[in-house]
Symmetry: C2
């Protein structure tokens, strides 16, 4: 029999609200199993009724039917099991249980004393508005593409986007360090192009390179990009891990806005029965891990997210999480001019539009297309915001 | 119109075999879309018929119906789009397309000239056998648990496992740096306990700490563990990212076996219609990223993987991939003594048994249980291997 009754523990706990598919008996049994699987991963009957069983193990706080085959289980975990780190927190929330079917992480309930372990986004929504000197209305983001263009051609594009008033001009998420436009060649050229446009327009548009470097060069490349004058970093936490993004956000030597990109994260929201809810993944986790903006595929584009899912992300980026700042939702993925009215109606002004290919179409050119996009969005805003 | 006809490219390509759910017209349309989405992510009609369209863009090499609503599309990508890095290779294989439904990465077809960009596992199956001085028969792995025990109690367990002949004695995957058993306290104690047992038995059992550290401490913690005498590293690529694992495997200053753990990876195999196939995720990707052993939940345990899925992992860990070594499959997750005959029958001798809680049950004690497990496995092996 295993026992430990001498743990020095705080007694403080955070909770995860899971949705469990299955009938009531099955869902309850599996909820009780999650309490074990995510912590002690050990036959509970071999553990004495001690601190491990009463504190280290997850505790089923409530169990509520939402329907005949769907139940909600709130499970609390001791702060200590996370070692106050994001990787181990994620491990506790969904690590092993991701391997069992029919379990969805629906919501995180994180007391202020717990979120105090995390800095979250450095800028957040208000900070980005200050940086861009745009106290109201949507912000705008676009991407340098396609892969295969030279650094010079991408820098020319960046200049046109900046002339047109796009606040965050990012690399396409697939542009990293290909020989077509090497990282160390492309970044200075794009920075220079945008700075030239800024001098001409008086704006403060920013170049945001993709940091999808090998793990051993990741932080070094980000710092190098900052030294060259990058104005933000595009990060792919599905590939580099959420905690690598957090480190960039927390780094006072960088102090750059972080745009969180959803690459490779789709499988976590592919089924309503399992994975994360959109709100947790693209809202709460992105914020905890320091993203100032959460990019995701909007409804009505070339991806499959529903309007409801997208609006739940808005809830996630705004939800109460102690001192963790609210961030911008950044819906993209095939957005065109005709989507703008619906996007403004759905998101209001606190949104960062991510428009890519559409700004390349037609004869007017990128700069003029950007101006039209900004004007269109402004005209759709409620009069009170003009 | 975008054009670039001056690319210096090799002409060499690797392929991804996707399975696409949907009727023939829909699946073909979506296959053609993948070629764009995973590379240029740009309206193809705006690109001249040049090197970008003919080389940088993915190319649909074949399209084959597997049934009325399932099709197989083989898409080739230029080596150059991966920038010869694993993060960008993963981005190309499944990054954005993970966000669309009904696409599964079924198999990677990687020419030798491409796999030459990756070192893969340092030891592989043969290397681990040499390290353990076990030229035949299964290897054995177990986990120190439950979370909440002191470092001293975990070290006592490690001693018993080593006395019982468990080759790789790992931390439970959730044990990282909790105050119950801090990383820098636990590792030296467990190393010492196992070395004592090795002196007594003449074996060469190894302590394998979990490296689930914050990203900024990840490599430092791994090196520190090596300095203390750790004999392997348990790594969670679903949390730290596959490339962080690759860096550990590639690090000549470490030169330690890597045990790849499936935490957080379950959502990628939750649906047969989307994500990765078991064989790609737990076989090909684990190997490319340097794991010497791929841990996954076995059929018949407390998880949901089918026998067929598990055997496809065996195919993945053994498949032809140039100089990338074959590795051990390590099925675990609630394995008990009664599972052993079926596991030997299914896996043969090239398997690393991961048995946890079962070795704690009964009155015989851990050391004796381990001996019984080894004896049972040996007795089940075909006579030719005795």
């Amino acid at each position: 029999m295993i026992a430990n009754t001498s743990l020095q523990v705080s007694g403080e706990r955070f909770s995860v609200v899971y949705r469990i598919a299955g009938d009531q008996d099955d869902a309850r049994r599996r909820s009780e199993h999650i309490c074990i699987e995510q912590t002690i991963e050990f036959p509970a009957e071999l553990i004495a009724d001690d601190d491990i069983r009463g504190h280290v193990m997850g505790q089923l706080e409530s169990f509520t039917p939402l329907g005949e085959t769907l139940h909600e289980a709130e499970i609390s975990y001791a702060y200590e099991v996370t070692a106050s780190t994001l990787p181990q927190m994620i491990n506790v929330i969904f690590g092993n249980i991701s391997l069992q079917p029919g379990v969805c992480v629906h919501r995180l309930k994180l007391p202020d004393s717990f979120t105090a372990n995390f800095k979250g986004p450095r800028f957040g929504r208000t900070g980005l508005r200050d940086l861009c000197d745009e106290p109201k209305g949507p912000l705008f983001c676009s991407a340098l593409k396609p892969m295969g263009l030279s650094s010079k051609a991408l820098a020319d594009q960046a200049y046109a986007f900046a002339r047109g008033g796009i606040h965050f001009i990012k690399d396409d998420h697939g542009i990293s360090d290909q020989q077509f436009a090497p990282f160390r060649e492309r970044i200075p050229l794009c920075v220079e192009a945008i700075e030239k446009a800024n001098r001409e327009t008086g704006m403060n548009c920013k170049y945001v390179p993709t940091i999808n470097s090998p793990a051993n060069l990741f932080f070094e490349d980000a710092r190098w990009a900052k030294e060259q004058g990058a104005g933000g970093l595009l990060v792919l936490p599905g590939i580099c891990g959420f905690d690598a993004m957090r480190c960039l956000a927390d780094d006072d030597a960088l102090a750059l806005p972080i745009l969180g990109h959803p690459s490779l994260l789709g499988s976590y929201v592919a089924s309503p029965d399992s994975g994360y809810s959109h709100s947790v993944l693209f809202g709460q986790l992105m914020r905890l891990a320091g993203a100032d903006t959460s990019i995701y595929p909007n409804f009505g584009g070339r991806f499959s997210f529903s309007r409801e899912a997208c609006l739940s992300i808005v809830e996630g980026v705004n939800s109460e999480m102690g001192d963790i700042k609210p961030i911008f939702p950044s819906p993209g993925g095939g957005m065109n001019f005709h989507n703008v009215p619906d996007m403004i109606a759905s998101y209001g002004e606190d949104v960062m539009f991510l428009v890519g290919g559409a700004l390349h179409r037609g004869d007017a050119g990128i700069e003029e297309n950007c101006r039209k996009l900004r004007e269109l969005a402004a005209s759709e805003l409620p009069a009170s915001l003009h």
